[in-house]
Symmetry: C2
Subunit: 285 residues, 2 copies
Amino acid sequence: MHSQNLINIIADELPELNKSESKVAHVILADPDRATSSSIAALAKAAGVSEPSVNRFCKRFNAAGFPDFKLKLAKALVSGVRFVNRNVDPGDDVTSYTPKIFDSTINNLAMVRDRISHTRVNQVVDKLIQAKRIYFFGLGASGSVARDAENKFFRFNLPVSFHDDVLMQRMLASTGGTGDVFFFISHTGRTKEVVEVAALAKANGSTVIGLTAPDSPLAVISSVTLDVEVPENTDEYMPMTSRIVHLVILDVLATGVTLRRGPDFLPHLEKIKDSLKSTRYIKET
Amino acid sequence: MHSQNLINIIADELPELNKSESKVAHVILADPDRATSSSIAALAKAAGVSEPSVNRFCKRFNAAGFPDFKLKLAKALVSGVRFVNRNVDPGDDVTSYTPKIFDSTINNLAMVRDRISHTRVNQVVDKLIQAKRIYFFGLGASGSVARDAENKFFRFNLPVSFHDDVLMQRMLASTGGTGDVFFFISHTGRTKEVVEVAALAKANGSTVIGLTAPDSPLAVISSVTLDVEVPENTDEYMPMTSRIVHLVILDVLATGVTLRRGPDFLPHLEKIKDSLKSTRYIKET
DNA sequence: CATCTTTATGAAATTTTCTTACAAAAGAGG
DNA sequence: CCTCTTTTGTAAGAAAATTTCATAAAGATG
């Protein structure tokens, strides 16, 4: 597991803290940025506790003392809270909504990075390595993700295709069998068509992989599921970011496959890269 | 431009510093991490100068004093370390390469967030709002981005389409005219076909928007360019992250258009959302 | 429910760290 | 070589943080 953010650690520990520690925690969580520039005396006063209590609080969270704690807090602020979810408001102008959308995306990526199951990733890489054929299926926005996956996995020198057409998906699912991997991408994991096709593929003995929401019908039916828990879209204006998380996970899978293939495979990748060179204007440097 | 990293600022100022300030700078740059956990006395000794000299040094760089300086340095270190390319090594296992790929993506997003021109974003939103038709064009991996964009902009109730077929692109570009927006997505901005089609569209009086690398042939030819500077792919194993940055920028643009349309437009978006409900299994909560 | 034990908390003293005031040294300009 | 400016350090003082210790609160035990 990745190192957790100090702010989250404090928030998590909140119920375990005693009275004065809890007071300190609340003051810090309320305005962590301010806390980093306060003296121990100021913070103690704000929390209504004594200075040694603040000091003990710091040591409880593995800091050498108050200054060290402030340092750690400042670092945590840079990496974490900076990317806090801030909703887009109707009155926002470019300078407001642009960073908000970036931050929200970054935030979701950071969350999934810390939560994704490495075991599952490994299992999926296994399946992909062993596959005789790979089909990437998705509808709507997930169709684009599937298309991108095709483009990526095409390089591995095995039959890959993507389909965003339900009838095609259905036909292929029914003709597949052992050795075929059907990779389903779905934000909700509840689209009836998708679940039905996945069931069909599974019934025919194919391997079904689901990149989707945990505990969804698609997740339940899949041979291996890569759970992606991205918060519900609470804001009317905030775009859906699960697509992006899905894309990055496919990057991870592709990297996993490349690494498994070993260094002998690199020349092949080089060859594909080179094949594109002639299509481009040369960059003068 | 966003605030520059403190470490870089110090390095840049190096020639302007006087003797003792320069000594302090060298010690800090040699091991900034250590500096954040030193006392002013320790640092002064390490640099071979007096404590007030260190203090003056800090104030020169807009810190309130030494502790404040350490805080700022610590923050700079965090954002700096994140931008360090942690390449995927051939020997990496899942637990290593997974966070590396996420981090690399996050870093690129954070970089573009800080560098993207809000003025340009606004200009593009203007063009999109005024457009009678919008075409999203891309090849290869950028084709998926274009497809995603179509899916997104379709909701705005105006004729949008995406094309990843060069011949189709060419035909459409030649038939377009005033009021038509051709939106080109390209990682390098140097693919000959793409640049030619863009030139064709421009020659026919259409608006050409380029989401691409700065100073590339495509960027030069476009009516408005959204520059995306994503570091070159140095690592064989590290996937290309510009696609993802492009997607997020399209999210930003779509949000910009939605906000411009104003609150009267929201019911329309709701209607589209609702139309998908019947295709899904209901979530029991 | 009284008493003992443990734990939690703060006052005060101590120590460490930082800042300021001022003076000495170094350098620039005439 | 003097004067003025800039740079640097010494030493004093101020501020901040930590430790010690005493007391209060909470909990356990008979």
